[in-house]
Symmetry: C2
């Protein structure tokens, strides 16, 4: 029996299945959605996917994505060069950046410790962080790893690795009730942390 | 302040936002997911999106997607040429096809009546269906429009438009309890239909 779809559509559906959370049905739905769109929209999407890795590299300083040797954030001299926010990945960096509450530099670890997934200390950008600190210009590190088992283990590892910088202030993001959240629905651990870390009204 | 991401990534995120249900955050997540994939995977996806509309047309007979004048299904002489399953769109066709319970031909209407969205009878492939019936080879039409207000209105419209073919059997998909579903959780209308349309055990 002949296939019920032209080959290009079958190919598109198959390619779309690599996306996270996209199975056969969603892939078909996305493919037909794209087919209903004007040619120009498809071209824009297709070309952005093809172009994204051209000239793309990791910033030699912080490990964030960059199109030059040094990323836009590290190049920005208006940013506070004495404070580094350490994040697991670029998505976390973007989230902190979007809060507009941080004007220092970043360091992207490239993940978190996850022994079960085979990610050990040597897979994280820790040596490069230590190297940045040796220049002596940084006075504070904000550890902004995720509040997960892996993130906490990574934070603990960083603390051990930075013990040779006694003048360095090492802080981490506060845990507490999310803004707009409800005390009633907060889990016990979050609530316990928000009590421990209570601040003056 | 300089942008926190290289332009190609910003472009990719912006392009991904055209996908249904994809907002800024999901688009960023998809973009970084793609960046973590090998170049070859991205190329395959990008090229499938660019290639999908090359040589792609509507089948001159049934309106399904085709890479030649006539689609693979209409070309298949082993299929029963005397029965046509009328569906709203290609996704519905694929669903029926996947059931393996239908070996006839299809007719794709290209949507359903939706006056509020400005989709009237003239926007649906009804004239082309009538033309196919005038050849006199078709003995049954299965109306497989969706069990929605729009689908039911479209079914009713088809029934009126096909009144000039007295020898034509017009059927529609049975309504009833989904296989694997639970009588307890079936809505009243579905349950009422499944009682009306009960069959011998």
């Amino acid at each position: 029996m002949s296939s019920s779809l032209p080959v290009p559509i079958e190919n598109l559906i198959e390619s779309l299945r690599i996306l996270p959370g996209v199975g056969q049905k969603t892939a078909a739905r996305l493919a037909f959605f794209l087919l209903r769109n004007p040619e120009a929209t498809r071209q824009k999407l297709g070309n952005s996917i093809l172009d994204v890795s051209h000239n793309l590299r990791k910033c030699a300083k912080c490990g964030h994505f960059a199109d030059e040797t040094i990323c836009g954030i590290c190049q920005d001299t208006r940013r506070d060069q004495s404070i580094i926010c350490v994040v697991e990945d670029a998505l976390d960096l973007l989230a902190v950046e979007k809060s507009s509450a941080f004007k220092g530099l970043y360091h992207v670890l490239g993940g978190a410790l996850a022994p079960l997934d085979g990610i050990g200390p040597e897979d994280l950008e820790i040596d490069s962080l230590v190297a940045r600190l040796q220049a002596g210009e940084v006075s504070e590190i904000i550890v902004a790893t995720n509040p997960t088992l892996e993130g906490e283990a990574t934070a603990a590892l960083l603390q051990r690795r930075l013990i040779n910088f006694p003048m360095l202030k090492i802080t981490r993001l506060a845990r507490g009730i999310p803004v707009g959240g409800d005390v009633e629905y907060a889990d016990e651990i979050t609530l316990a942390r928000s009590l421990e870390n209570r601040v003056m009204l």
